[in-house]
Subunit: 340 residues, 2 copies
Amino acid sequence: MKKDFWSNVNVAVLGGGSFGTVLANLASKNCGSVTLFMRNEDQARAMNSTRTNPNYSKDVVLSDKIKAVSSLEKVFELKPKMVIFALPSHATREVAKTIAHFFKGDEIVLHATKGIEEQSLKRISVVLREELPILRIGAISGPNLAGELARNEPAATVVSSPFDDVIEAGEQVLTTDRFRVYTAHDLIGVEWGGTLKNIFAIASGILDSSGFGWNTRSLLLSRGLAEMVRFGVAMGAKPETFLGLAGIGDLIATCSSSQSRNFRVGYQLAKGRSLADVLAELGQVAEGVRTTRIVYEFALERGVEMPITEAVYHIIQGEWSVERGVQHLMTRPQVQDEWV
Amino acid sequence: MKKDFWSNVNVAVLGGGSFGTVLANLASKNCGSVTLFMRNEDQARAMNSTRTNPNYSKDVVLSDKIKAVSSLEKVFELKPKMVIFALPSHATREVAKTIAHFFKGDEIVLHATKGIEEQSLKRISVVLREELPILRIGAISGPNLAGELARNEPAATVVSSPFDDVIEAGEQVLTTDRFRVYTAHDLIGVEWGGTLKNIFAIASGILDSSGFGWNTRSLLLSRGLAEMVRFGVAMGAKPETFLGLAGIGDLIATCSSSQSRNFRVGYQLAKGRSLADVLAELGQVAEGVRTTRIVYEFALERGVEMPITEAVYHIIQGEWSVERGVQHLMTRPQVQDEWV
């Protein structure tokens, strides 16, 4: 596709959360128009009139090219050539099912969801493939804290798909002079990278609560990366994918920002509070708690060595104290040559 | 060597800086006695009487097994079986030359110096090999901020050598229940990792000064890692070495701690001050400035692509503004598949 193809067509973003809003703004720089779907009609109306998202930072001023809508039918009025899913993992299948009949078949589908479908353990691209009459599907993943993107700080992401034209379209739609797009054909690795990092974000919050500094966090991130690679490879991913922005890059950002939901869960757990209490207070999904359970059980079954995941699992379950977790990790048998 | 071999013998640490002092304390947990060499006689005397290092944090209480000395001759009085160099890169050759005749030949030599010899571009293990009658040489490197180690926070390092018995000795001497030792046979990669990271620490200080957050820093770290791998491979290192604690681990810690000298140089440069002013005020060596020049020129000559190093070089030289550097990096041609 020629780059100016996009300047005349419509792109749809599903999900008016902070990241969906940022993605709509990025796409608006390269596309003819952007339709942003959110369930709440009042919110959509407010966004159209005030050009800001009332639920999030006032820093994000919406481009005039963006129109917010609250009906899925309206999303397809302008015949979008790209549909970007920016929904929580648990909502994706239902929305995809609802809108499947609107697709003509030539659309490109991307998703920006970090997590997997809970019951099935399916990656989000697989869920979309099952529900939509579309083959050309990809994912967007990287160290992309929405607040920082809204402030136009330099950042980059990875667009991943087995299909070259999906990658190319993602580059053309999202690249700006403050937002670079890298690419990866290993969709399995990119999706698992965005999922697994949440386990280590919980661990990072736990360690932060103990007052530990950068030596400890760097140790967590380095050995967390090793666990991500081992698990990813067992799922069919390529190890090198985890060395990029959607692997170590996203891991660093998520584990360092005290804004991350999963980080906050870890922090509060380490203060001795119960998981139920912490989650109730948060009032939001903490993807990492579910991910930890799923990955721990799967790793156990498959014999993938994931000692940090194991410790996070037992701390979440209330079975281990933080001190026991740290001691377990620090006094394991010596490992010969770090990367095997 | 049996593990209890060390509990009856002496280990020497050369260099009474903050890291040398911490290493002496770690070794004292596993060894019969530790001799800590520092040039300043008053400082040595003060350490022996107060059990703290007067120049550094009072958190480090020295083990009773440590004796500080200020003469190199005295270092060898107790016939150390291991000698650990913890000196600045520029001082290592001279000290090694001075003490070469004290060695019997069965000692194990480790160094904890991050940097290379300026004129020759030689790695520190090569310098030691040239000056000492010793083959069994290795390096200690990892995310090891001395202040955090002094507070007994959980941390880990990498002991690296082509020789198994050096690695084993390093593990036995340095491992404690709060300090894990990983191993790597790729000494070239470990030494270059500890050297190259300082370039990106300067870059991190520059970006921090601009107020950018974790998206930008994670981008820097991910792409800095890619440059480290490319340069390291050109020098004969194995790529996977950079994925471990002595690569990405040390990179994260050094680029995130605002205590690092190189970080502070970058921060001040970005405030518009000249390099001469910044270095004069710092009153300490900032290894990264020299490293940036050396690596930039070498990469240019060899055709190794290092765009971040290039930008840091031009900012250090006063040739580019920070904004120009950022723009240069953000608007480079798209890269197909991140890791090749």
